[in-house]
């Protein structure tokens, strides 16, 4: 059992270079079995991370990750790869900070360089109320041991010299929340790393396999689905799979999958758009976010500026993007950096976000036994991927929601309290 590929290292590179030998597959295309202990719907970062930690931390390896397309084809490959942990609420901070830990050690844990660039993260404040929220976040962060503080315009200028800090602009920069541990990661590599790591444990990654239905019996809803029911498996485009546990990790499509189990979600699907420019010599050393201008920007090691915004106002499953996104984006970026109008936009794209009312995820067990959700990731699913996988794996293995995700349970929408991240809403990247 087990598939042990050669370790990646400079040495291995040189050896392959000299022998011109081929590298083995990072993950295989296995034959689908008729039953698994766990079926994870969605072969993105969250699904693959969950699978990896099931095997790595809990020895559960009879697991299938099914995806209707190719792995990492959804939000995992479309986000702007920003990681940070300077959230507003204690529960948010604790959760995302664990996520940052996992990113820090990921390259060695997964033996794949995910190119984590810890270049610092600036959230600009253009109004005194925004500045107050920054202080609020900074204070909460400090108490949680997170390195995050409010800095003034001059320090902002030092951190990102191309920003215009003159006071007479329409959106003057009054200060910023500075979060040195934040940065960017090569998002696709994270997906591949977890896929490779899961494949090592013989976990089945089933690409081009679409889930058509979730089989539930004994539920109170139509067809025995819904609350009180119990999961028995899934129907896929390549045949049925029986499984006692089915996990929904489908982000923008979460509602569609959840409806198959008869579990309604407090989610609406909105596109989140991003864009990249042609490469230019590197001049922007850090990640810059402006909440009130709905823009965030960083420069890749290849010299491209990567832009994002907040989700589109009109809910849709279309991912072909809009012109107005690029117009507003460019206008706002040039408010911040008037000197770069000659840079050219090279490509725009769009991903689907599963937005919740309180800008926090919906995780863990549901009223249907054996059906778990890891959804509601809105615009912050990438930075949470590893820790979501770790905590979902724990939840699956132990049967009870992991402590780190206690605040994110689905029941909060029926009786309990929403999570307070909304207080720091705006652009949540």
């Amino acid at each position: 059992m087990g598939n042990r590929p050669p370790k990646y290292s400079a040495g291995a590179l040189i050896k392959h270079g000299l022998t011109r030998g081929d590298w083995p597959r990072m993950w295989r295309r296995p034959e689908m079995r008729s039953s698994y202990d766990v079926v994870i719907v969605g072969g993105g970062l969250h699904g693959l991370a969950t699978a990896y930690y099931l095997a790595e931390n809990h020895g559960i390896t009879n697991v299938a990750v099914v995806d209707k397309g190719y792995i990492g084809g959804g939000g995992s490959g479309r986000n702007t790869a920003i990681v940070r942990s300077n959230y507003l609420t204690p529960e948010g901070v604790a959760f995302y900070d664990r996520g940052l830990d996992l990113y820090n050690s990921m390259a060695t844990d997964l033996n794949l360089n995910v190119m984590f660039s810890k270049r610092g993260h600036l959230t600009l404040a253009h109004t005194d109320s925004a500045l107050r929220t920054m202080h609020w976040r900074a204070e909460v962060n400090k108490l949680q041991g997170i390195n995050s503080s409010v800095i003034g315009p001059e320090e902002v200028k030092e951190a990102a010299p191309s920003l215009d800090i003159s006071p007479d602009t329409r959106y003057p920069i009054l200060g910023a929340l500075h979060h040195p541990p934040g940065g960017i990661v090569r998002h696709d590599a994270v997906v591949w790393g977890y896929a490779r790591g899961a494949d090592v444990h013989d976990i089945h990654i089933l690409q081009e396999t679409e889930v058509l239905d979730i089989m539930v019996e004994g539920g109170s809803g139509p067809g025995g689905k819904g609350a009180g029911g119990k999961v028995t498996g899934v129907k896929t485009s390549r045949g049925d799979i029986s499984a006692p546990i089915v996990v929904n990790c489908t982000a923008g499509w979460a509602s569609l999958i959840s409806n198959m189990a008869g579990v309604p979600l407090p989610i609406t699907t909105h596109p989140l758009q991003a864009a990249v420019t042609e490469p230019c010599k590197v001049f922007l050393p850090t990640v810059v976010v402006s909440g009130s201008l709905h823009v965030y920007v960083s420069q890749t090691d290849r010299g491209e500026l990567v832009f994002g915004a907040s989700v589109d106002p009109v809910g849709t499953y279309r991912v072909n993007g809009t012109l107005e996104f690029t117009e507003e984006l460019a206008g706002h970026v040039l408010e911040l950096m008037p000197g770069i109008s000659k840079m050219r936009l090279l490509r725009q794209w769009s991903g689907l976000c599963d937005m919740t009312p309180d800008y926090s995820p919906v995780m863990g067990n549901t009223p249907v036994e054996g059906y778990l959700v890891d959804v509601g990731w809105g615009t912050y699913g990438f930075k949470a991927g590893p820790v979501a996988g770790e905590t979902m794996a724990e939840t699956i293995a132990t049967g009870r929601n992991a402590d780190l995700i206690a605040a994110f349970g689905i029941e909060r929408f029926t009786e309990g309290d929403l999570v307070g991240e909304k207080g720091a809403a705006a652009v949540g990247h």
Partner: protein, 951 residues
């Protein structure tokens, strides 16, 4: 040496106008009509730059907009397409991506490491030791390709935009596109014809005499047609839902780039075809170029591409290139006919081709290699509409699946092959069909649009699509030779890299793209996609049709951020008094859309003056809604937590709104001016939302209620007159209103004349905690009233005060601010609205949440807080913690130094366990110090029983 040929019949250069510019510091000259690249090539330049990863020397390959080797820095503009950008006198042109120089480039050492730098190599190393990675990364970032952006000195510049509403928009000004434009225009459609290059004509421009003649005829016909607007040097960069179309118009007289946003009835996509490179060892050596490139250089720019050429041809373009080369005096050493299975195996040469090895084993010496191995159909605009092109092996290229919305039609080369006449005919048929659909749509639009008169013309009957599709000529599938070569020139990705990636599991085109970055460069796949798919199909041992292609996203070709931003419209709202404030030293405060006076120099003094004399503040941004109708009280009961039915005429009341989720959303004072006439005020930022919310309930929930809502925020300039002397002051200026305490008590409203201005609404409220009146003046007369108050009140110490002073005063009085002292989750109990909220109503927004909230005892409570040491002002947002632990028990939401009390004062949200008056709490200061503070009995720090304002 000069490569300029004698006059060519179709040349577009004007030899009478020579332009001088510099190339890497060296003075050179070209002619008007030259592209930067043709001028340099004419001057004997072979090497234009270095490749991204291996820093290999690169020369002209496609000699058009897509040429991946011709990205140059021109002045402060990076990544200029030298293959299409017209030369201008004085241009400062330099190479990108070399260090220290083009001739001697240190990074070229990467070539030796090539075998170790296979694609994705960086994923496999630098993992440990971890602390070294940031250093590696610094080095990587140094090697970033592309030009320099001069962010220090460049300015936004005069970019521009406009809207357009053509019936038919034609993308592409070749024979098919021009035919489509003319046919559509003849049918009465308004047409916008967009051509990527600076002249109409498409591939006819570098064709034979007959082709050039036809191009000229069609071109002038388009220019002359009253229904056609021609945009050259312009690109359709994107097609979005409902035919929202982006056109990037370059070199417009008033802007370097101008974004035209067109809502087109129908778009005709006629971009023609883009020639494809051939993959073989050494295919990126300077001197290897496409047949089209050779022809453009010779026929358009009179530039000899080389001395001795080997030509590999699979089609007429290649055959024509042989003739052109011959005519240009280039010795054609050999013609390899791919249709007979002949071809190139590899090419050698450092700065320029020297040796060519052919499939029949010959080794030829030549300095130029010309390939004509087929086409890529740029189906980008179709992809954007959801079309997924299908591969046709017999024609060796992709075609539209035909699954297109009716407002999108394809004409010309993308549809198939044919003579100039065939292409034009196909265009004309398509144009006629487009016009028919577009005019039917316009007829609908005119009939449905309220402001338009009913159409005076007949809606045309629907025309069937009976166009004869263009034939698909047979074409050999030539993608890669027996050797490996470059597939993506701008990304330095070779066919070997792609084969390896597939073996590693990146065996779908999308995964391969992400892993190797193939097609992710500036050409976005226009040159690389098909070859990449072919190499992958080969590696996977499957048919090319089963590979699919990556999805082409906007923009079709890169567009500047400047053009996308255009003229930036960020409205600022100004009260009728803002000019006065600015003239009197007010320091501006941007609050939402409004610009307001923060203070006039000394906020503390302004506040003190209000407490001791009288002050004026401009509070115009307060949202103001005029409400009329018998059912207004019902509406107020619905949207406010408190009751309104019994409010008498002449009285005002404070109210708080919560949303359906029970969260405090807005607040303000609303007064009853007459039996059926009310004036509601809202927060400044909430004004718009409250208005829309009221309309929503009235229109969709209680349409039977008679209520008219009119926004009057800017129409009434609101002046708050506050301070012990305010009544005395107003007595001097207010006519026909008795201001005495008995006649005009606290929380009342009167209407009268102020300083001779009729119809002023005056109400008596006390946000500042002083005796104060808020006067709402018709804005055209506001300045008069404001100045009158100051003049008349001079002896009473009347002076203006700004927002900061008001913040101090309201905090002394303990009035909370929605959104500052409450947040996105604050329910009514948190705000301390206990007395106000009436749960015995049958319907009010968020009622079940309100009931639930008041059943709970765990919600945070807003309290007044004073630090034990009054000299310390805790920062707003400072956390309240549990003693020495880090457990958060609340936070300071507002804090100021109180001039009245001479000590610091705060409002804060605390855990209910700390909410009792006298509770000692710990506040964690930003500097880490923990200080003691005490919870107060009241929110108000000054005059909680309201004696000062009730006089």
């Amino acid at each position: 040496m000069s490569n300029r040929l004698p006059t060519q019949p179709g040349e577009v250069i004007d030899r009478s106008k020579s332009l001088s510019f510099t190339w890497n510091g060296r003075a050179v000259t070209g002619f008007e009509g030259d592209t930067i690249a043709s001028a340099l090539a004419a001057n004997g330049v072979d090497v234009f730059g270095r490749s991204m990863k291996y820093h290999r020397k690169r020369g002209i390959m496609t000699a058009d907009h897509w040429d991946p080797n011709l990205f140059l820095q021109v002045g402060d503009e990076p990544n200029v397409r030298a293959g299409s950008r017209k030369l201008q006198a004085g241009m400062v042109v330099s190479t990108q991506n070399v260090w220290p120089s083009l001739k001697f480039d240190l990074a070229a050492a990467n070539q030796l490491l090539g075998r170790f730098l296979s694609s994705g190599f960086y994923y496999k190393t630098f993992m440990r030791p971890r602390f070294l990675w940031p250093l590696y990364q610094k080095v990587l970032r140094k090697f970033a390709p592309g030009g320099e952006i001069h962010w220090k000195t460049s300015k936004h510049g005069a970019y521009d935009k406009r809207y357009a509403h053509p019936d038919v928009l034609v993308a592409g000004g070749g024979p098919a596109g021009m035919g489509a434009a003319l046919a559509a225009a003849d049918s009465g459609a308004r047409v916008m014809l967009v051509e990527h290059y600076t002249e109409l004509g498409g591939h006819l421009r570098w064709g034979d005499d007959a082709q050039r003649a036809r191009a000229a005829e069609l071109g002038s016909a388009c220019e002359a047609h009253p229904n056609v607007e021609v945009l050259v040097d312009s690109t359709v960069t994107g097609r979005y839902d409902h035919n929202w179309i982006a056109v990037n118009q370059r070199s417009h007289p008033i802007a370097p780039e101008r974004l035209v946003k067109a809502r087109a009835g129908v778009m005709v996509v006629a971009p023609g075809l883009i020639e494809r490179p051939y993959v073989f060892a050494g295919n990126d050596t300077p001197g290897v170029l496409l047949a089209g490139a050779a022809r453009r250089l010779i026929n358009l720019y009179a530039v000899r591409p080389g001395e001795k050429a080997v030509v590999m041809t699979a089609n007429e373009e290649g055959d024509a290139a042989v003739a052109d080369l011959d005519r240009a005096g280039v010795e054609v050493v050999a013609v390899l006919d791919a249709r007979k299975g002949e071809g190139i195996v590899s090419v050698e040469g450092k700065g320029r081709v020297t040796k060519v090895t052919t499939t029949d084993g010959r080794t030829l010496s030549a300095d130029t290699v010309v390939t004509a191995t087929g086409w890529t159909a740029p189906t980008s605009l179709l992809n954007m509409a959801g079309d997924r092109p299908i591969y046709d092996p017999s024609a060796a290229r992709y075609f539209s699946s035909g699954d297109l919305p009716p407002n999108l039609l394809v004409a010309g080369g993308v549809d198939g092959d044919g003579s100039t006449d065939d292409l034009e005919a196909h265009g004309r048929a398509t144009g006629a069909l487009a016009a028919n659909r577009a005019l039917r749509r316009r007829h609908d639009r005119v009939s449905q649009t309220a402001r338009a008169n009913p159409p005076t013309w007949e809606k045309p009957t629907e025309m069937a699509d009976d166009r004869t599709p263009l034939a698909r000529s047979a074409h050999p599938e030539c993608y890669r030779s027996s050797t490996h070569g470059m597939v993506d020139f701008s990304e330095d990705v070779s066919s070997k890299d792609l084969v390896q990636a597939s073996k590693e599991g990146f065996d779908s085109i999308e995964l391969m793209k992400r892993y190797t970055t193939v097609t992710m460069g500036p050409a976005q796949g226009k040159l690389e996609t098909v070859n990449a798919a072919a190499v992958l199909a080969d590696a996977n041992q499957v048919a090319m049709a089963d590979i699919g292609t990556t999805v082409w996203r906007p923009p079709y070709s890169p567009i500047s951020l400047g053009a996308l931003a255009g003229r930036i419209h960020e409205p600022v709202r100004r009260s009728a008094l803002q000019d006065w404030h600015e003239a009197h030293g007010a320091s501006p405060l941007l609050a939402g859309q409004w610009i307001r006076p923060d203070h006039y120099g000394d906020a503390m003094a302004e506040a003190t003056n209000v407490r001791s004399n009288v002050g004026l503040i401009d509070v115009t941004p307060l949202g103001k809604l005029d409400l009329r109708g018998p059912d207004v009280p019902k509406l107020l009961e619905l949207v406010y937590v408190n009751k309104w039915q019994k409010l008498e005429v002449g009285r005002v009341r404070y109210g708080t709104m919560v949303a359906e989720d029970g969260v405090v959303s807005d607040d303000g004072v609303t007064g009853r001016l007459g039996e059926n006439h009310w004036l509601m005020t809202t927060t400044s930022s909430g004004a718009g939302a409250v208005w829309e919310m009221l309309e929503d309930w009235l229109q969709t929930y209680k349409p039977e209620w008679d209520v008219h809502v009119t926004a009057v925020t800017g129409g009434l300039t609101s002046i708050n007159v506050a301070g012990p002397n305010s009544r005395t002051l107003l007595d001097r200026l207010v006519e026909d209103v008795d201001l005495s305490a008995e006649a005009f008590p606290y929380f009342s409203v009167r209407t009268g004349a102020v300083a001779g201005v009729q119809n002023c609404i005056i109400w008596r409220i006390g946000f500042t905690g002083e005796l104060s009146y808020e006067i709402h003046v018709p804005s055209g007369h506001a300045l008069h009233v404001w100045e009158a108050l100051l003049e008349t009140g001079a002896d009473l110490g009347c002076a203006p005060f700004g927002v900061e002073a008001q913040r101090i005063l309201r905090l002394e009085k303990g009035h909370y601010i929605v959104g500052q002292d409450t947040d996105g989750l604050s329910k009514a109990p948190t705000a301390g609205l206990g007395g106000l909220v009436k749960l015995d109503k049958t319907d009010t927004l968020g009622l079940p949440e309100l009931k639930h909230a008041y059943e709970r005892d765990d919600l945070p409570i807003l309290v007044g807080i004073q630090t034990v040491d009054g000299t310390i002002v805790p920062e707003e947002a400072a956390q309240i913690v549990d003693g020495d632990s880090n457990r958060i028990m609340g936070r300071i939401t507002s804090s100021r130094m109180s001039p009245t009390l001479g000590r610091s004062i705060c409002l804060g949200q605390v855990d209910p366990s700390l909410s009792a008056a006298g509770t000692e709490i710990t506040v964690l200061m930003a500097d880490g110090k923990r200080i003691k503070a005490t919870v107060q009995e009241h929110h108000a720090h000054v005059d909680h029983e309201g004696a000062r304002q009730r006089v």
